[in-house]
């Protein structure tokens, strides 16, 4: 995933993350001191504003000559991913139309800004737009060229140098140059963008952008990090020529304009059929079609996206044959609605594939808000840990397909702390901890009370209606430990607001996590994201502290020692250091008991028609769903044969392949 922000908790299988978004809000105004922000009426136009910004921020935007480039990169090793294996299949055939379903018509065609985080974003940005350098999805730590032909890392100067591919062209034919690169950083850092996350990230992460000529540039990072190439190279540039009218009103002005893309698919005006469908078309003479790592991918000529709002109807539509390929999320849909006895499956017209992937899963679990009454007591939190039967949830709701998350940051390819083991469901032990907190009496309804007459009763809030049944299981089981859970299922807007205002007692939630080398702790576990002034000078809790809203620290956890570790962690320059510090952080979070380990699903399911073909491994290790890397192709001969068989009432061989090459032991 690129470094972008997705404001939604609701689509956990989508891309990117909410992670920084909320935290960065307070930093918004101090990002740049452009006067344009305070006097939008006097906005001089994009070009003038850009020039003014370049002049004002001349220590960030640096312009040098081509000869300086030779000088600066002398002695550096250029990389181009030539030794890395490609992941597209040379047997792939180009052409055909793929029909898919999308849950809603997009609210905008912008990549960024209001409504830009709805599920359709995958087809505008996440799955189709190009970046300079992409992490190899099968080989973490390795990179593949995309818009940059070559890159070189200068550790001493925290700088990554790029040589753009001169062939790269926007879908409207304009070549990509460093002008677009400069514009992109201007755009991401502009307060006019109305997106504090981007302002914050693109200001804090980078300390300089140096342009040498039309195709050579370098990015200097603020901190030395183990994944410098990812931080500098995994960025989507934007077309400067398209944003000529960028200004304070750009959100409205650009709402329905199609951004030219460097990726393989674009949307043509005539293919927008509001509100029922949108079709993506392969860019004519796409510059990347013969490039390594881009060829043998993006095979269908057209991708037709039908809007079907109801998930149950989507399944019906798939089984009827209206759509060709469907990622299946609900276990019930997978095992029952498309059971092997269903005519559409039994006849062989549906292939049901299971693919084991390796990505950081959304961190589903119970986030216990320590700022709420009673929950500040560690014994109560540990009691809740032992009283939450997620094992039963995995068994009953997920039919054994899900596993308990081991730590708050599973899925980065290494175990952050082998000592940390999730606490099992044990009502007896839970009662012991509740007793330590003073809850010794059992009331007539089976709920424990303390001598002050307070009941051991907490409300769990969630915005995931589909996980309501999970909560019902937890509620019934918790009563065995004398703990009462009240359930509150809110709609997305109200619910997210309540969570981030820290008004919930316990939250069932998850943040999407970016595929990267190491987890992020600052957002959810540092004290500055819990309270305005968390501690007094001596490190003790500040009695007058106020809860900080709109951050991702849903637990309101604030421990000075943990903050110190996280600070060190964020400055760690090597992976070894990172891992050592991560182990300590994990231990401290575990001991605090603020996050009850929820579930993760180690695979995804795909159901598709037998004429859609895939590489031998099906997909790459770090894919979120079967569409993400566009490795599939349509086999016209198989399609003809299958349709003929269907017309004649003949069955095809039934297929339900399981791809477990990337299954974690």
């Amino acid at each position: 995933m690129t470094h972008s922000f997705r404001s939604s908790l609701l689509w956990p299988l989508g891309a990117a993350t909410l992670i920084f978004g909320a935290c960065s809000k307070p930093a918004g105004p101090e990002v740049t001191s452009a006067p344009a922000a305070t006097a939008p009426a006097a906005f001089p136009g994009m070009e003038a504003d850009l020039q003014r910004t370049l002049k004002e921020q001349s220590s960030f935007y640096i312009f040098k000559s081509a000869s300086d480039f030779e000088q600066d990169t002398k002695g550096l090793t250029w990389e181009d991913g030539a030794n890395e294996p490609e992941y597209g299949d040379p047997a792939a055939k180009r052409g055909g139309t793929l029909t898919l379903a999308t849950p809603d018509f997009p609210g905008t065609f912008r990549w960024i800004g209001p409504d830009a985080s709805d599920p359709f974003r995958e087809f505008l940005l996440d799955y189709v737009a190009s970046v300079f350098v992409r992490p190899h999805p099968n080989l973490p730590g390795q990179y593949t060229p995309e818009l940059a032909r070559e890159w070189a890392v200068d550790l001493a100067h925290k700088t990554v140098y790029f040589r753009l591919d001169p062939d790269a062209r926007w879908s409207d034919g304009v070549p990509l140059t460093t002008e677009d690169v400069v514009f992109s950083w201007y755009y991401y850092r502009s307060p006019l963008l109305n997106e504090p996350w981007y302002n914050d990230f693109y200001t804090k992460t980078y300390s300089a952008l140096t342009v040498y000529d039309d195709y050579n540039f370098s990015l200097t990072l603020a901190e030395l990090k183990p994944d410098m190439v990812d931080r500098a190279g995994n960025v989507n540039p934007l077309p400067k020529h398209f944003f000529k009218e960028f200004g304070p009103d750009w959100v409205q002005k650009y709402n329905w304009r199609i951004t030219p893309t460097l990726g393989a698919y674009t949307i043509r005006e005539e293919d927008i059929k509001r509100p029922s469908s949108i079709t993506l078309s392969y860019v004519k003479k796409w510059w990347g079609q013969d490039k390594r790592f881009l060829r043998y991918r993006f095979n269908p000529d057209r991708v037709h996206l039908t809007v079907i709002r109801d998930p149950d109807k989507t399944i019906e539509a798939f089984l009827r044959g209206d759509i060709d390929d469907l990622p299946v999320i609900s276990p019930q849909a997978w095992y029952e609605k498309m059971s092997n006895d269903h005519p559409a499956v039994a006849s062989g017209f549906t292939v049901k594939a299971t693919f084991y992937n390796q990505i950081p899963p959304p961190d589903f679990g119970l986030w216990i808000n320590e700022a709420q009454p009673l929950l500040g007591d560690r014994n109560v939190r540990l009691g809740i840990q032992y009283a939450s039967n997620f094992k039963l949830v995995c068994q009953q709701y997920f039919r054994g397909d899900a596993a308990i998350q081991k730590t708050v940051s599973d899925g980065y390819g290494w175990d952050p702390n082998p000592e940390v083991k999730p606490r099992p469901f044990d009502p007896q032990k839970a009662r012991e901890f509740f007793a330590k907190a003073g809850f010794t009496q059992q009331g007539p309804d089976g709920v424990l009370t303390n001598p002050q007459g307070q009941r051991l009763s907490f409300t769990i809030t969630t915005i995931y209606r589909r996980f309501q049944d999970v909560l019902v299981v937890l509620k019934q089981e918790a009563l065995k430990a004398g703990l009462e859970f009240n359930l509150e299922v809110l709609d997305q807007t109200t619910g997210s607001q309540k969570m981030e205002e820290k008004k919930c007692e316990i939250t069932l939630a998850a943040y999407n996590r970016t595929v990267e080398m190491y987890p992020r702790y600052w957002e959810s576990y540092s004290g500055v994201n819990a309270y305005d002034v968390p501690y007094l000078a001596d490190g003790s809790p500040n009695p007058n502290r106020k809860v900080k809203i709109n951050t991702n620290n849903l637990c309101s956890i604030a421990i000075p020692a943990l903050d110190e570790l996280i600070k060190q962690y964020d400055k760690a320059e090597t992976m070894e250091q990172t891992k050592i510090l991560a182990a300590k952080i994990e231990q401290m979070i575990y001991d605090d008991g603020c996050w009850v380990n929820g579930w993760k699903i180690p695979h995804y399911w795909a159901a598709y028609r037998p004429w859609i073909k895939w590489p031998a491994d099906f997909n790459v290790m770090q894919s979120r769903d079967e569409w993400e890397f566009w490795l599939m192709w349509i086999d016209p001969d198989a399609q003809k044969a299958a349709l003929e068989a269907k017309a004649a009432g003949r069955n095809l061989p039934r297929q339900s392949p399981i791809y477990d090459r990337f299954k974690e032991p």
Partner: protein
């Protein structure tokens, strides 16, 4: 209380209308079943005999497992206890209700969540829903929630409707004009949409349950009743007996509640069943859309939603649909009969 001769006549006529009266008795019977739900449908035992003592766990405080020699402090699993006593042969026994499942109970812990078809041997007479809960249990307890909701709805709507409507009709003038405009505006709000918006802004935890939902719905549903009471009060106000009462020195409250109200009662009674039907329908609609009762409270709308999402398990949607249709039809029949019984014209000739 002595009934007036007219009321007695109306009652007699109501009883003579077989379909309406029959529906009334049927609904009464169903309501009685719902009120006694704990005795008929519950995972708590009716009667337990253990070591020479008798226990009645249906109502009141829970009996922890320790009470019956089990090694856990939480509520006894009576079905397991029954099986255990049956094999131990120590003179202990457990008497379970006809349907031994609770409305919120996950009947098969550890087993996959999947709707189970009706099965007489397992005593799931209408099957189970998608999270292993007995549908009949949820229907019955859901019915009780609907009844409670509609009872509360009727009381509140009538209270507001009668007070506001009577005041408008009796005092007339600017009060009437002003209130009419307010009511017109208020009643133009799209009911379900506004209720959903208000509902989603309010806390919705289990502890708020029925009461809060009731208030929100009543807030946007009280206007209908005012039209009828207002016009009826207007009509009655012009009659001589009202003038007579006023001449005798009766104040507005006395005139309204002692003289006018008894005379417009027939209108109020006639609307009663339809108001109840409206209450049940709106609760079901809200639940269906997910803005009604908080989970896991049993409700018909929630069952309908589950059912339409699981058409491959037709017993869910069929149960909820049949139950809802049956109750609404019964209420409609009763409503028709009441209207006919209160109609001063005994015979009607259609031309």
């Amino acid at each position: 209380m002595e009934l007036s001769p007219q009321a007695r006549l109306q009652l007699r006529r109501f009883r003579s209308l077989k379909r309406g009266f029959g529906s009334f008795l049927a609904l009464l019977f169903l309501s009685l079943l719902a009120l006694l739900a704990e005795v008929l449908v519950s995972n708590r035992a009716l009667l337990v005999r253990y070591d020479g003592r008798l226990y009645w766990p249906s109502y009141g405080a829970i009996h922890p497992g320790h009470d019956f020699g089990l090694n856990y402090p939480y509520e006894t699993d009576y079905r397991a206890l029954r099986a255990q006593f049956a094999t131990a042969h120590q003179g202990n026994w457990v008497l379970m209700p006809i349907i031994p499942f609770g409305p919120n109970e996950n009947c098969y812990p550890g087993q996959t969540f999947t709707p189970r078809a009706p099965d007489l041997t397992l005593r799931h007479y209408l099957g189970t829903d998608q999270i292993n809960r007995d549908i009949l249990a949820r229907l019955l307890y859901g019915f009780r929630n609907s009844l409670l909701f509609s009872a509360g709805f009727i009381v509140l709507v009538y209270l507001i409707g009668v007070v506001v409507g009577c005041a408008m009709g009796y005092f007339g003038g600017w009060l009437d004009l002003g209130m009419q405009r307010i009511i017109e505006i208020w009643s133009l709000l799209p009911f379900l949409l506004v209720v959903i918006i208000v509902r989603s802004a309010l806390p919705t935890g289990t502890s708020f349950g029925l009461g809060l939902l009731l208030l929100v719905v009543v807030l946007f549903a009280w206007t209908g009743m005012t039209y009828y009471t207002r016009s009826a009060t207007y009509r009655e106000k012009a009659r001589d007996y009202v003038a007579a009462a006023q001449v005798l020195g009766a104040g507005p409250a006395r005139v309204l509640f002692h003289h006018i109200l008894p005379n417009i009662l027939s209108i109020l009674v006639t609307f009663l069943p339809f108001t109840a039907a409206a209450a049940i329908a709106s609760l079901t609609a809200l639940d269906y859309l997910g803005f009604g009762l908080p989970p896991p409270m049993p409700s018909w709308g929630e069952l309908l939603r589950q059912g339409t999402g699981n058409l491959d398990a037709p017993w869910i949607v069929a149960s909820a649909f049949c139950a809802l249709s049956l109750v609404l039809i019964l209420i409609t029949f009763i409503g028709e009969a009441i209207r006919e019984a209160f109609d001063p014209k005994k015979f009607m000739v259609y031309r």
